[in-house]
């Protein structure tokens, strides 16, 4: 009878580990570049080029090193090929499940989950968007004068791993939009994120709480 218990705890531990690993690409991708080959599936490694002029420019295969936090600005000329090593652009929808995990009864609103793999789907917000309409909605309620942003539910492990400067496409559940000194934040418990547009997709950078 001891075996089942040990197996159960092994399963639980493995599950927690997988969850922690799954979230990592979302947190790491803007810093390290390449999504290609990264485990955790479901993140976008790029997309079709949307234009042909300007040397076939535009679109999906810019290196992701530039322009990110600490990455400085992008070179004026895009390289015409993927850099060696497969550094490539991730252009997911606004919130992805980096981990699609539901925690404590939270709903995974962050992405369409296909065979447990999160797929980038687009804006997830309480702004009266598709998630409200399609799923009965939940996420837009006034709280201390701010809108609650319902987003991809992620694990506690992921939140703990969010260090200052890291960038994610996914927010935990139960965040509020706060404007402090004209700067817009998403406050998720004790973690503060600053939303920004990377391309036309929003990303969230972990920042120090405003003073």
């Amino acid at each position: 009878m001891r075996y089942p218990i040990r197996i159960l705890s092994l399963v639980l531990l493995t599950g927690a580990f997988v969850a922690a690993v799954l979230i990592e690409p979302a947190l790491a991708q803007r810093r390290g570049g390449g999504g290609r080959g990264m485990r955790g599936g479901g993140m976008s490694r790029g997309g079709a080029r949307p234009s042909v002029s300007r040397g076939g420019g535009g679109g999906g295969f810019r290196p992701s090193g530039g322009g990110g936090f600490g990455g400085g600005s992008r070179p004026a000329q895009r390289p015409s090929q993927l850099p060696a090593g497969g550094g490539n652009m991730n252009r997911p929808g606004n919130i992805t499940g980096g981990g699609n995990i539901t925690g404590g009864g939270n709903i995974n609103r962050g992405g369409t989950v296909i065979n447990n793999r999160p797929v980038n789907v687009g804006d997830i917000n309480g702004g009266g968007g598709w998630n409200n309409g399609y799923y009965g909605g939940c996420c837009y309620r006034p709280l201390a004068g701010a809108a609650v942003v319902g987003a991809a539910a992620v694990t506690g492990a992921a939140i703990a791993a969010a260090s200052i400067g890291s960038v994610t496409y996914a927010l935990p559940a139960d965040c509020v939009v706060m404007v402090v000194d004209l700067v817009t934040y998403n406050q998720c418990g004790s973690t503060w994120y600053q939303p920004s547009f990377e391309g036309s997709t929003t990303t969230y950078t972990v920042v120090n709480p405003p003073q």
């Binding site: 955790g40 999906g60 295969f61 606004n94 687009g122 960038v167 920004s196 036309s200």
Partner: protein, 278 residues
Amino acid sequence: MIHSRTLWIGGTVAVAALAVAVLVTKGQTVRTTRERSAAGVVGDSSAIDPDAIAALENMGKYLRTLKTIDVHAVVTHDEVQTDGQLVQKTSNVDVLAKRPDRLRAEVTDDRQPRTFYYDGKKFTLWAPLLKFYTTIDAPSTIGDLADKLEDRYNVDLPLVDLFRWGTKEGDTKDITSAIDLGPSSVDGVTCEQYLFRQEGVDWQLWIQLGDFPLPKKIVITTLTDEARPQHMSVWTWNLAPSFNDAAFEFTAPSDAKVIPFSADLADRLSAKAKGAAK
């Protein structure tokens, strides 16, 4: 059996004859595209049909004569997941533009709608579901704006080719293969279909036949990813649009929040970090 074998041999002879014909004409003006495409031979990847290039340039020249652009596009776009699976996104795009410095592009999409506003001085990107927007100082032309958005902010202005064809940035020197595939209708409009290749992409373009050589459809296949994602856009044109300049101005709803572009945020945060380190 004998019959099919005869056919096969006949086919081989025909292909060989065509190959000879192609070899003979290569380096000269290739005007046998229509015949070759009729025979199903379109794979000569190094051939440039000057007529196809001329058609593309003529279309670009025509686009440059349009003072206003009002076009509706149905866009399907593949995203590649890390495991190589393709996810197709569909959106409707409405672009209204007045040369040289007014543009509005509305991307209607269930999941990630956006509107782009350019009034000649400011550019705004608006995310209506999130109620987030960003506004930056803009260059003085649509072309310069498109370059700045791409180079600094990773933003692709919707249907940007329409603004670059017929300009230096839309020139045809990057094209390594150009083939006229013959007539092909798009939404009931008779077009000529062309096949182009350049570094990293194969693309097909349908150009309306007649006095208004408008692009009607494009399919771009990205070759740098083995999943070969495609981007397709089908255009419906309104050549007599009616609008006023208010169409290009963004007025933020009262519950909208400003957020920056990532590149500007990164600059700001690293400046702050440097300041703190001193």
